[in-house]
Amino acid sequence: MIIKYLLKSIITNRSLWGWGVIFMLFWLLLGVFVFSTSVPKQMIATLSYASSYYGTITLFSFSTIAISISYTLYYGSSALAYSFRYTKLTPLAYFLSLLGAASIMATIMSAIMLSATYALFSWKFNFNLFPHQPLASLAISAISGAFMMVLAMALVLAVINYAGVKNITFVGFIPLMLSYIFGFGQLYITLPEYLEYASPFTAISSLLYATYGGFSIPKVFINPSAGTLNPSILLLSLIAWILILSALDTQLLRRIRPRAIEEARQV
């Protein structure tokens, strides 16, 4: 298994730390010091506010893993095509290694967000806002990392294998765009219930919200009275997405088409 090398490659990716951690900590600081003026100074309200921030920011953070995975696959397409033929590496072993590496990285990022959310929000509001189920948060994060990986792999391999790679950058950013759309959507607007359950992005932010605050999951984070979502269904939805995309990924990986890096050049 080459998981340790893939994990090393992901963990030492400075862009991932820059955009996935430092930039997200900046958002968190804005949430603590700039956008918090209208939050009632009550324990429940501040815990709900901190939970929604943790859920949304961590979702955005995970989406940067997807971007890293996309580029790893694109730049490594020749190496993978060669390795599946002329080394002992199998598509399944590579898939599982990358899945494991993405899950571990997501857990690390989530642990940082969890600690920062607890420390900053507790300090600002002067309440002990310790997460309700921190281990459950990390477990959801590991599953979320797996989802981001399988989504990124499906998108980028579909393009590598069956389309031109001119749009590879755009495709690599689709998970991030969807994360922002659904993340902000769940924060401010009432999405149709079926979409809330079907979307793995709302599942991630909702489950992280629930494990941090210990609350029922509101359909809209800023309006808890708008109704609630069933966490079990959200978790099942997320796992179903992972399973479906995993099946697709392993098939696409078997057919990976080596691409020259220069093919993606735009100008």
């Binding site: 080459i2 090398y5 090393k8 020749s78 190496a79 033929r85 002329y86 080394t87 080596p258």
Partner: protein, 264 residues
């Protein structure tokens, strides 16, 4: 029955509308072969096609009797083409570790050779951070130490200094593995007695000859009856003959200039 190491039959590789390899035939079985041709003649593309990295329009490639499309986890072949070692964004030391693991072999010999070639300072750097020559030598060493039976070495001496060239050639000569090596440098041939020789030009492969025959090989304009091979190129038709002809092959520095001289 012994398996044929490499068989290429009527291979065509096309990029867009550009036919890069034109009905190439080649058999390598228990010998060391050097392909000589100018830049752009299709040598690298032939290697990439064998490795499954170039789009095969038609023809057949068999490696150890396995058709290319059916090859999985066949560890009898290795290469020095850098792009196959970019499986992740890793430093050279980790790349060595990954590929030794993926081959199921120890890494001590590879690290020892890195040291012998005074490339220790590359271990903590990534492949793209190395000079062209360093990158080439690291990939040469990776290819040589993968316990493969057939090595595909694409221009292994490009930008490599004389001292390392000399030492690496000695290693290749002593290697138990068979080799298919490409180069555009005619001078190298003098260092490879006992090897087979093919010429590659404009996507076509001509030969096979013996490097030991180099002193006796001539190129003449036109199609001659006693030709060992006839080369149809955009410069015209040329015949490769033994012992007499228009120009002696060994006088050339590269194939293109030789043909141009004969054509004139």
């Amino acid at each position: 029955m012994l398996k044929c190491m490499l068989e290429v039959n009527q291979l065509r590789v096309v990029y867009g509308s550009n036919v890069v390899l034109k009905d190439v035939n080649l058999v390598v079985n228990g010998e060391k072969v050097v392909l000589v041709g100018p830049n752009g003649s299709g040598k690298s593309t032939l290697f990439k096609a064998i490795l499954g990295l170039a789009p095969v329009a038609s023809g057949l490639i068999k490696v150890f009797d396995n058709s290319l499309s059916n090859i999985k986890n066949l560890i009898e072949i290795s290469t020095n083409i850098a792009e196959v070692y970019r499986i992740a964004n890793l430093k050279v030391a980790d790349i060595i570790n990954v590929y030794c693991e993926l081959r199921g072999i120890g890494n001590a010999q590879t690290f020892q050779m890195i040291k012998e070639f005074e490339l220790d300072d590359t271990l903590g750097r990534k492949l793209h951070e190395l000079s062209t020559g360093q990158q080439k030598m690291v990939c040469n060493i990776l290819a040589l130490n993968q316990s493969a039976k057939l090595l595909l070495l694409d221009e292994p001496f490009d930008n490599v200094d004389q001292s390392r060239r000399r030492r690496f050639i000695e290693l290749l000569k002593r290697s138990d593995a068979e080799l298919l090596m490409s180069t555009h440098e005619f001078e190298l041939l003098r260092l490879l007695p006992g090897w087979k020789l093919c010429f590659m030009l404009e996507g076509k492969l001509f030969g096979m000859f013996e490097v030991s025959q180099l002193e006796r090989l001539y190129i003449s304009k036109g199609r001659l009856e006693n030709a060992l091979a006839v080369m149809e190129t955009s410069l015209g038709i040329f015949s490769v003959t033994l012992d007499k002809g228009d120009l002696q092959v060994k006088t050339a520095t590269n194939l293109s200039s030789l043909l141009e001289a004969v054509a004139e």
